[in-house]
C-alpha cells in the first residue's frame, strides 16, 4: 500500500477534526436542556445590564478597600490561584474568598469604613452576578460554535426593507415647494435691488436651478437614505432582546433583517419603520467639569465605566446621560462613552435645510449646514448664550457629535470643524441630513415562521433525510454487497464533513440547505456507482483485484471530477448571484461536492486498500 501511513493520518486526522468542530453542536442540541439553551440565548443587551449591575457592586467593594494594591490578590506568593481581582481595566472579576476575609482586608486598608452591611450585600450580589455572567458566557460560547438553524426551521421573523421612493419624493417636493414660489422670489429679488426688467428672467432661472437641485436631491437620497436607515435600525433593534440579529445591506438598496425566535412581529415592524429623530441638545458642562480628569478622554467624554454607572444614579432631573457613538470602519456603531446633556431639546433636526461636506483652504474637510429661517433665529439665540459650551447632535438618543460653540451663529449657516477623516465627515453630514429628511421606510418582504411550524419542518426534514439515507444504503448494499457498504460509509462521512464545515463557517441550516444535502447524497451515490461499475468491468476483463482497483479508480476519477466540478460551478454561481435561500442552497452544494471528492474517492479507496493489502482478501465482494 503506497503511503498507507500518511493516508491513515489524513483520514483519522480529518475525522477527529470534524468531531471536535461538531462537538458543541452535538452538546447544544442533545445534552443541553431547554433552560441551558435559554441561558445561551441571552441577548447582549441583557448581558450588558448584568455587567452594569455588577460594576456598581464591584465599585462599592473597591471604594471600601480603597487601596488599589489590594484589588488583585493571590492565595499566597507562590500559588497562582486568584482569590480577589477587582482591577477596573479587566471585566473578568474574581471574588474567591469569604466575606470575613474581605472584611479583614477592608479593616486593614480603610480603618474608617463603617457600612459593613452594605458591603456584605454588595459582596453577595457581586458574587451572584459573577457566577451568572460566567454561566451565560459559557453557554453563549457554545452557541457561537454550533450549526444554527435558519428562520424557516427555528422560527422567527425576516424582513427586507427599502426606501419608500414615492413618499421620499413627496417629502422632498414639499420641502422645495415654498422655496419655488415665484411671487416670493420676485419679491426677494426686488428687495435686493435687481433691475425690474431683469426680474422675470432672473426668477425663471432661479426656479430652474431649484428644480435641478431638487431632482438631484431625490436621486441622491434614494441611495444614501438606505445607509441612514441601516444605522437607525442597527441602533434600535437591540431592544428586542433577540440573541442573534442579522442586519445587513442587501442588493438594490435594501436592508435584510433577521430576528430568530422573535414572536411579536408587529412590534418589530413598527420599530423598523418608525422615523428617526434628530435633535440638538446642550451638554451639561457644569456636570462634566465635576468629573475627575482621569475618567474622561481627550475630547472630554466620560469613558470610565465604573464612574458612569455611579453617575447614572446621581444625575440631576433636567439632565440625562447619553452614549456618544462612533462608527467603526465597517459602519457598525460603537458606544465610546457618555456625556450629560440637558433633556430640553433646543433645536429640532427638521429645521435643517441641508448639510454637506466642504473643504477649508488647506483641504481639510468640515461640515457645513443650513437652517431654515425659524431655525436660524433659535440657533442664533442658543449659540449666543452658550459660547464655549458643547452642543450635542443626538440621533435616536445617541450622541453623534458634540461640537463646541465657538461664536454666536446668525443667518442660519453653521460649520462644524475638527479633525475629521473624510469618512467621518461624510457620515456626520449624512446624519444631519437625516434630521432634515426622515427617510420613509417600507417593508418589501416579510416572512414569519411560527415556532411550531419550524419544529414540524425540522422533524420532516430529519425524517425524510434519514429514510432517504437508509433506502439508499439498502439499495447500495443489495446491489454491491460489501463494496456497497464501503460506499455507504463514505456517504455518511460525507454528511458528517458537510455539517462540520458548516459549523466551522458559522453557516445556518435551512430547508434549501437540506435539499442541497440530499442532492449531494445523490452525487455521492453516483460517484461510487461509477467507481464500482468500472472495477467490475476491469474484473470482467480478467484482471486481478489490485490492478482492477487501480484502473477502475483512475478512469472513474476523471469522470467524477468533471461532473462534480461542473455541478460545483452551478453551486458557486448560485452562491454569488443568489440571495437568502438560493444562496444557502449554493453554499451547501459547494461544501458537499468538495467533501464528496474526498470521501467517495479517497476514503473508499483507502478502505479497499486496507482489505486488499492488509487482510489480503482474494475476492472482491462487488
Amino acid at each position: 500500500m503506497t503511503n498507507g501511513f500518511l493516508k491513515t493520518i489524513i483520514i483519522v486526522g480529518t475525522l477527529i477534526l470534524a468531531t471536535v468542530i461538531l462537538y458543541p453542536t452535538y452538546e447544544w442540541y442533545y445534552f443541553f436542556d431547554e433552560q441551558k439553551r435559554e441561558i445561551g440565548n441571552t441577548s447582549q443587551k441583557e448581558l450588558n445590564s448584568l455587567y452594569e449591575e455588577l460594576e456598581i457592586n464591584i465599585g462599592n467593594i473597591r471604594s471600601a478597600i480603597k487601596n488599589t494594591e489590594f484589588y488583585y490578590l493571590l492565595e499566597s506568593k507562590k500559588s497562582s490561584k486568584v482569590i480577589l481581582d477587582l482591577r477596573p481595566e479587566k471585566r473578568d472579576y474574581h471574588l474567591n474568598l469569604d466575606f470575613e476575609t474581605l472584611k479583614k482586608i477592608v479593616i486593614k486598608n480603610n480603618p474608617d469604613y463603617k457600612d459593613f452591611e452594605i458591603l456584605e450585600k454588595s459582596f453577595n450580589t457581586a458574587k451572584d452576578y459573577i457566577a451568572k455572567i460566567k454561566e451565560i458566557e459559557k453557554y453563549k460560547g457554545v452557541r457561537g460554535k454550533i450549526i444554527k438553524l435558519g428562520l424557516d426551521l427555528a422560527g422567527g421573523v425576516h424582513f427586507v426593507v427599502g426606501v419608500n421612493k414615492e413618499e421620499l419624493k413627496k417629502i422632498i417636493e414639499d420641502k422645495y415647494a415654498p422655496l419655488m414660489d415665484k411671487n416670493k422670489i420676485i419679491e426677494e429679488l426686488k428687495s435686493k435691488g435687481v433691475e425690474p426688467r431683469m426680474i422675470e428672467e432672473e426668477a425663471k432661472n432661479r426656479i430652474k436651478q431649484l428644480e435641478e437641485e431638487k431632482e438631484k436631491r431625490i436621486e441622491n437620497e434614494e441611495k444614501e437614505g438606505i445607509d441612514r436607515a441601516l444605522l437607525k435600525i442597527r441602533n434600535r433593534i437591540d431592544q428586542f432582546g433577540v440573541a442573534e440579529t442579522t442586519i445587513r445591506k442587501s442588493a438594490n438598496n435594501t436592508i435584510t433583517i433577521e430576528l430568530p425566535g422573535l414572536k411579536n412581529k408587529d412590534a418589530a415592524k413598527e420599530v423598523i419603520t418608525k422615523v428617526g429623530r434628530l435633535t440638538f441638545q446642550l451638554v451639561n458642562e457644569e456636570l462634566v467639569k465635576k468629573v475627575p480628569l482621569e475618567y474622561k478622554d481627550t475630547k472630554g467624554i466620560i469613558v470610565n465605566k465604573e464612574y458612569i454607572y455611579k453617575l447614572k444614579t446621581e444625575i440631576p432631573n433636567d439632565t440625562v446621560l447619553l452614549w456618544v457613538q462612533e462608527q467603526d470602519k465597517f459602519g457598525i456603531p460603537r458606544d465610546i462613552g457618555v456625556l450629560p446633556v440637558f433633556k430640553k431639546v433646543d433645536l429640532d433636526g427638521e429645521r435643517i435645510k441641508d448639510a454637506r461636506v466642504e473643504y477649508d483652504p488647506t483641504g481639510l474637510p468640515y461640515i457645513g449646514f443650513d437652517l431654515d429661517s425659524e431655525g436660524a433665529d433659535i440657533f442664533a439665540s442658543i449659540t449666543k448664550a452658550n459660547v464655549g459650551n458643547r452642543l450635542a447632535i443626538v440621533l435616536d438618543d445617541k450622541i453623534q457629535s458634540a461640537p463646541v460653540i465657538q461664536t454666536q451663529i446668525t443667518g442660519g449657516r453653521a460649520q462644524i470643524t475638527g479633525s475629521f477623516s473624510m469618512e467621518e465627515a461624510k457620515t456626520l453630514a449624512a446624519i444631519l441630513r437625516a434630521g432634515s429628511l426622515p427617510i420613509p421606510i417600507q417593508i418589501e418582504e416579510e416572512r414569519v415562521v411560527g415556532p411550531s411550524l419550524g419544529k414540524d419542518q425540522i422533524q420532516q426534514g430529519l425524517n425524510s433525510s434519514l429514510l432517504a439515507m437508509i433506502l439508499v444504503i439498502l439499495v447500495m448494499i443489495v446491489y454491491y454487497k460489501w463494496s456497497g457498504l464501503n460506499a455507504s460509509i463514505a456517504q455518511l462521512i460525507n454528511i458528517y464533513f458537510i455539517l462540520a464545515v458548516m459549523a466551522q463557517l458559522g453557516s445556518t441550516l435551512t430547508l434549501p440547505g437540506i435539499a442541497s444535502i440530499v442532492l449531494t447524497i445523490g452525487m455521492s451515490v453516483d460517484a461510487n456507482v461509477i467507481i464500482n461499475e468500472r472495477i467490475k468491468e476491469e474484473l470482467r476483463e480478467g484482471r486481478g483485484i489490485e490492478s482492477a482497483l487501480r484502473l477502475g479508480y483512475s478512469s472513474a476519477f476523471r469522470t467524477i471530477f468533471d461532473s462534480n466540478i461542473t455541478t460545483m460551478f452551478s453551486g458557486i454561481i448560485l452562491a454569488l448571484v443568489g440571495t437568502g435561500p438560493i444562496k444557502g442552497f449554493g453554499i451547501v452544494l459547494i461544501i458537499g461536492l468538495a467533501a464528496n471528492l474526498f470521501t467517495s474517492v479517497f476514503i473508499t479507496r483507502f478502505i479497499y486498500d486496507v482489505f486488499v493489502y492488509k487482510f489480503r482478501i482474494k475476492k472482491l465482494s462487488i
Binding site: E446, L467, S563, S570
Partner: protein, 295 residues
C-alpha cells in the same frame, strides 16, 4: 462491436421529435396561459393557519368567505388537521381581522409571508440571471475539457430539461416559487452530471477505438450501453431517496419531490436520447462538409 441490442441513435430520432413537440407545446402554453407564479415571484401575501379541532371549517368555506380578495386556499397536511395555506395578491387586506371576525380567535398562525412587488421582480431577475450564467459556464467548461460541440450539446440538453420541467409544473398546476426554483436548479445539476458521465465515456471510447467517422454513431451507442447500468442504478437510488421525501414531506415539499422525480427521469432520458445523438448528428454534418470540400 458486441451485442448492442438497442440502438439509441436510431431511437433518438423518434425521441427527439417527441421532445420537440413537448417543448413547442410548453412554449406555446407559456405564452398563452403563462406559468402561475407563487408570491415569491409575483408578490402578495400568504398565511398558514391551524384551526382548533372544534372549528367547523374546510377549504370550500374559506374560499367562499375570502372570495372578495380572490384568495387561493389549500389544505395542507391531513384533512382532519385543519391546516390551511391562504395566499392572495392584495397586500393591504387585513386577513387576520377577517378571520378573527369569522372564526373568533380559534386558530394559530403557523407562518406568514409577504413579498412586495419589487422583491418579486428581483427574485425573477436572479432566477433568469443564475440560469443563464450557469448555462454559459457549463458551455465554456465542457468546451474546454471536451470539445466545443460537447458543451453545446450539454447546454441544449439542459434547456430541454428545464423547459420540460416547467411544462410539468404548469401541467400539474403548481405555483412556481423559490422551492420549485431550487428543484429546477437541482435537476440542472443531476442532468448535467448524467450527461458528463456519458460524454466522458464517449471521449474515452473514441480514443480506444480510433474509428473512422462513419462509425462514430456506433461508438456513441457503445458508450451509452457501457454506462447504462450506472445510469439506471444512479437514477433508481435517487428516485428511492425522493420516495422518502414524498412519504414524509408536507404538501409544499411534495410539489418539490414530484418536480424532482419528473426532472430526474427527464434528465436521465435526455442525456441518453438527446445529448449524445446531438454529437452524432454534428459529426455527420461535419464529415459531409469535409467531403464536399474534398470534391
Amino acid at each position: 462491436m458486441e451485442n448492442n441490442k438497442f440502438d439509441f441513435i436510431k431511437a433518438s430520432k423518434v425521441a427527439a421529435s417527441i421532445s420537440l413537440l413537448l417543448i413547442i407545446l410548453t412554449v406555446i402554453s407559456l405564452f398563452v396561459k403563462g406559468i402561475t407564479l407563487g408570491i415569491d415571484f409575483a408578490g402578495g401575501k400568504s398565511i398558514k393557519l391551524k384551526f382548533e379541532k372544534d372549528v367547523n371549517v374546510n377549504t370550500e368555506v374559506l374560499r367562499s368567505d375570502l372570495k372578495e380578495i380572490g384568495a387561493k386556499v389549500t389544505n395542507i397536511g391531513k384533512e382532519e388537521e385543519k391546516e390551511f395555506l391562504i395566499s392572495y395578491k392584495d397586500s393591504n387586506f387585513d386577513i387576520r381581522a377577517k378571520i378573527n371576525s369569522l372564526f373568533q380567535e380559534k386558530y394559530q398562525i403557523l407562518s406568514e409571508d409577504f413579498v412586495g412587488p419589487k422583491i418579486g421582480k428581483e427574485f425573477q431577475y436572479i432566477a433568469y440571471q443564475a440560469t443563464i450564467v450557469i448555462l454559459l459556464v457549463v458551455l465554456i467548461y465542457i468546451g474546454i475539457r471536451f470539445e466545443f460541440i460537447f458543451g453545446v450539446a450539454a447546454v441544449i440538453t439542459l434547456f430541454h430539461d428545464v423547459i420540460l420541467t416547467i411544462g410539468f409544473i404548469m401541467f400539474v398546476g403548481y405555483e412556481f416559487d423559490i422551492t420549485l426554483l431550487a428543484s429546477v436548479l437541482t435537476i440542472i445539476g443531476y442532468s448535467l452530471n448524467d450527461t458528463i458521465v456519458i460524454f466522458d465515456r464517449i471521449r474515452e471510447e473514441t480514443k480506444v477505438h480510433h474509428l473512422s467517422k462513419e462509425d462514430y454513431s456506433m461508438v456513441v451507442n457503445l458508450s451509452i450501453h457501457k454506462s447504462l447500468t450506472r445510469t439506471l442504478l444512479t437514477s433508481l437510488t435517487t428516485l428511492v431517496a425522493l420516495l422518502a421525501l414524498l412519504i414524509f414531506a408536507g404538501i409544499e415539499l411534495k410539489a418539490m419531490a414530484a418536480t424532482l422525480t419528473f426532472g430526474i427521469i427527464v434528465g436521465t432520458y435526455s442525456s441518453n436520447f438527446i445529448a449524445s445523438p446531438i454529437l452524432v448528428a454534428w459529426e455527420k454534418i461535419r464529415s459531409k462538409k469535409k467531403n464536399k470540400k474534398g470534391k
